[in-house]
């Protein structure tokens, strides 16, 4: 394979991984914008999506579509009950307590998944055929197309939701100023719950569409969650397009870094980028600098 084709290959796989990171990052941003919480359990919903689908498909022998829908529903329910049981009771909690609680939830969910499904790695069959397509000499799997398609759909869908639906506008109002939103009659509590619901649903979808490519197991949530966070930090919490660009950029850098520098340090690339951005420009590359406050 000549090097330009190889480059193209890296770019393709980088973009599809990046789309996944963007989706996960999106989940972080939705909860952060409505509550100011970074949900450390975000990655676990990604894991739940993949693992639940495999469970329904192989153990209960449901058809793929049913398995996927059920898996999204259950992940969403887990997200909502987490909010009801552990987040909502803690009014005015310090950030430290919220961090500790979401970390607790994350390892609880991971531990439960390990007990139920064991430590093995599982693969989900591809949604459509497994035969590679050839574009400009590079191979691309139909699953890559699924990933990119679903991501685009979700991004467009959430754009429409946040800009045109009543609930979406209400959620945006809460993120600007929760007290004012409450005063004009928006039910802030249910908006927070809705944000957990949407974010765990998106997380689980990300986990489902990536599972046929990368395999999944009870502990994939840590890495995927962190990389999603990295995407949202690159893009900036406040910008949906920024998150998408951040995810794609991260995916590309990772894939090119793994290809041309060192495959064994692939995972480290994401975290070095994360640290650099947090040190130099914590508000993200693609968003305006916020006013300085103490």
């Amino acid at each position: 394979m000549d090097s330009s084709r190889q480059l193209f290959q890296y770019i393709l796989s980088g973009l599809s991984n990046g789309a996944i990171y963007a989706l996960i990052g999106f989940g972080f941003a939705i909860i952060y914008n409505s509550t100011g919480i970074i949900n450390f359990a975000q990655g676990e919903f990604v894991m739940l999506g993949g693992m639940l689908t495999i469970f329904f498909l192989t153990i209960l022998n449901l058809p793929l579509t049913a398995a996927i829908i059920l898996s999204i529903i259950i992940s969403t329910m887990v997200g909502v009950s987490f909010e009801r049981l552990a987040i909502r009771p803690l009014k005015n909690a310090k950030p430290l307590s919220l961090i500790i609680i979401t970390i607790g939830a994350s390892i609880f969910i991971r531990g439960a998944a390990m007990l139920i499904w064991g430590k093995d790695t599982h693969a989900l069959p591809a949604f459509s055929s497994n035969d590679p397509l050839y574009i400009f000499g590079a191979t691309i799997l139909p699953q890559h197309l699924w990933i990119i398609g679903v991501t685009v759909l979700i991004i467009i869908g959430s754009r429409l939701f946040f800009n045109y639906s009543i609930a979406g506008k209400a959620m945006r109002a809460c993120s600007y100023n929760a007290r004012a939103a409450g005063l004009v009659g928006i039910n802030v509590k249910s908006m927070v719950m809705l944000s957990f619901a949407i974010s765990s649903a998106i997380g689980s979808i990300a986990g489902i569409i990536i599972a046929p490519l990368t395999m999944t197991s009870y502990d994939v949530g840590v890495m995927l969650g962190l990389k999603g966070f990295c995407a949202v930090i690159i893009g900036g919490m406040s910008s949906g397009m920024g998150t998408l660009l951040g995810g794609l950029l991260l995916g590309l850098l990772e894939s090119l870094g793994a290809g041309f520098i060192s495959a064994s340090y692939k995972d480290a690339i994401a975290f070095i980028i994360l640290l650099l951005i947090l040190f130099i420009r914590p508000e993200g590359l693609f968003s305006k600098k916020e006013t300085e406050r103490f």
């Binding site: 607790g104 007990l115 914590p282």
Partner: protein, 344 residues
């Protein structure tokens, strides 16, 4: 001027109270130290002695993290990395070269401290969730380095052939000797940390935790102090790591990953944020739990998760606050009966 005489009276009685309080604290430490040093006598030949060696190491680590998390209120999800640095620097050098392992231990602590000092400056400018993520990222980078520098660390399959520590002909190669090695170090760390926590530095750290703005207005240089305590905390973790390497004689990256950072966090939260004895309690519980749960393998991670959530929700002061409350209650009851006796 009744106002002033009443205030003077209050000051006098306070000074008396403080002297008894000081004596009480010294007494508690002496009792604790005596109990720890006497324990092997009762545990002769018991495998628990071995477990207690690790309780000691984990106590040291938990105290290190607690100084940062419980006192200064700054989270770190990457502390296992400093533990790992101590272990690997000691392990790699002493396994290859015939140098004094205690000197290497000092070197390891210095390197870990220097790294903490360098990354501490930018990292501790971040607050809350961002700090948590950044320290987690740091921890994972270090973990990847432990795994990938195979020529040095042996990679995922580990590093073996680390010699035991020795002082003259006294070799620390059995549980009893290791127990005293670890616990004398741990008691020293405890004592120094208690001293620190009750000094102007300890107060300044807690002030940062409660209100960073007010602390700065009162002249506390929060930025520098946070970096310094992060460094101290890394040094303590690295020393614990060196001890661990020499006791185990074999180390692998799995002991120094994100999961262990979370386990340390759990120890601190369960025992009690901002309590040195609480760190011991948390370390003891989390070290013994897997031993008790052998029957239910793999259940420990779920239990850690539940503990983190439930403690934060219902007992934010940790178990130690529960124990203190109970002790206070009993003391009040006893005093109450004494008073009523006197009346009768």
């Amino acid at each position: 001027m009744r106002f002033f005489s009443r205030q003077r009276h209050a000051v006098r009685s306070l000074k008396l109270n403080m002297i008894t309080e000081k004596k009480r604290q010294i007494l508690i430490f002496l009792i604790f130290a005596a109990a720890v040093l006497a324990a092997p006598y009762f545990l002769k030949g018991n495998y628990l002695l071995n477990v207690f060696v690790f309780v000691g190491i984990n106590t040291m680590l938990a105290i290190g993290l607690n100084l940062l998390l419980g006192y200064a209120g700054q989270i770190s999800l990457g502390h296992a990395a400093f533990f790992g640095m101590g272990a690997y620097i000691s392990g790699i050098i002493t396994a290859r070269f015939p140098v004094d392992p205690f000197l290497v231990m000092i070197l390891a602590a210095t390197i870990a401290g220097a790294l903490a000092f360098v990354i501490g400056s930018p990292i501790l400018k971040l607050k809350g969730h961002y700090l948590a993520m950044a320290t987690m990222g740091f921890g994972i980078i270090m973990y990847i380095i432990f795994n990938e520098t195979v020529d040095w660390t042996g990679g995922p399959s580990g590093l073996s052939g680390i010699p035991n520590l020795h002082i003259g002909s006294l070799i620390f190669d059995n549980d009893l000797n290791n127990y005293y090695l670890v616990w004398l170090s741990t008691l020293a760390v405890m004592l120094l940390s208690i001293n620190l926590s009750q000094s102007r530095i300890g107060r300044a750290l807690r002030a940062i935790n409660d209100s960073e703005v007010a602390a700065r207005v009162m002249g506390v240089n929060a930025r520098i102090l946070k970096v310094r305590i992060f460094t101290v905390s890394a040094v303590i973790s690295a020393v614990a790591g060196s001890l661990y390497a020499h006791i185990m004689t074999f180390i692998a990256p799995a002991s120094f990953g994100f999961n262990f950072s979370v386990e340390l966090l759990t120890m601190v939260v369960v025992g009690g944020l901002g309590s040195i004895y609480g760190s011991f309690l948390g370390a003891a519980i989390l070290t013994m739990l897997p031993e008790l749960l052998r029957v239910f393998q793999d259940l420990d991670i779920i239990i850690y998760g539940l503990m983190l959530i439930l403690m934060t929700m219902f007992m934010p002061g940790g178990l130690i606050s529960g124990i203190e409350a109970a002790a206070g209650f009993i003391a009040a009851r006893m005093k109450g009966t004494k008073d009523s006796d006197a009346q009768a």
